[in-house]
Symmetry: C2
Subunit: 175 residues, 2 copies
């Protein structure tokens, strides 16, 4: 049983309208991105899930609440460009409030990634994902059942510098 | 002794360059504000401090690490307008990780305010300040010693709705 992550995934399911402000900390410019994010539950026999688990050496009994995320967004930096993507995410709880999160493709580098998640005692979900040359840190919490807040940071590999940070306010638009 | 709030104030001292993205959740527009924030320690005999404590019925032995904050900013919504302000802030610890924060003037309504702060077990400082008709919730944490993150939300009085949210990335520019 891993109620915190199960509850977190359950509350995240649905269609979200996201507004993201990306802050480049070195150059201090800001990019605005609007996107639609759809988060849906994934059945245990979903195509590709068994392969993802096998590639990480994880047994299916060790996972909980796998889900699928798809997004499509547009940026104020290039009005013609639309970024879209999708990935499968699989929590592997270590204990009630922490564990691993397998991801079929990463945000910043389009390769599979494994992050470590942890819930703080005020309900904030923090995910740290190492990439080659950097690491991503995400904090997500619910302001209300229908408003989700997300702060992401890219750190240098040493962890001592922060390259960029972004804030997303996400509003539920459907179930 | 109240090491968490003392440490938090100590790390906050200095001059910060702040970039804030304000998200209006109803209309989904974004406002960018750049400001300079100067946070400095306040001596116990600072002018006005005794009066502020008296007006709240707080004894000087109950407080710790009082500080002063001054800011000056410009918004992309009105390039001619400069907003500036200053206030005195006084932590009144209840226990090691929570307490009250007295403020000589509030952010959103220019009247004195009393907020409640709490540190989560991942070091995030959360401050909730009730105002007439709404309440403000701020989360502040340090990404590094020189990068501070701040998310603010205005809630409706019932606490069930969120009117606006903002994200500030703050970079230290001096001691």
């Amino acid at each position: 049983m891993s109620p915190l992550i199960d509850e977190f995934v359950r509350r995240s399911l649905g269609t979200w309208e996201s507004k993201r402000s990306g802050h480049n900390l070195a150059f201090r410019h800001v990019e605005e991105v609007e996107s639609k994010i759809v988060i849906s539950p994934l059945p245990l026999d979903a195509p590709g899930l068994a392969e993802l688990l096998t590639s990480h050496g994880i047994a299916i009994v060790a996972i909980t609440s796998p889900f699928h995320m798809a997004w499509e967004g547009s940026s104020d930096w290039d009005e013609d460009a639309t970024s879209k993507g999708e990935c499968t995410l699989v929590p592997v709880p270590k204990d009630d409030h922490s564990g691993l999160l397998l991801r079929s493709s990463g945000y910043t580098e389009q390769i599979p990634a494994v992050g470590t998640y942890r819930f703080s005692n005020d309900g904030c979900f923090t995910l740290i994902t190492p990439y080659e040359g950097s690491s991503a840190e995400e904090r997500i919490w619910f302001a209300t059942d229908d408003v989700r807040m997300r702060v992401s940071m890219m750190r240098t590999q040493s962890g001592r510098g922060v390259l960029q940070a972004s804030f997303s306010s996400e509003i539920r638009r459907g179930c």
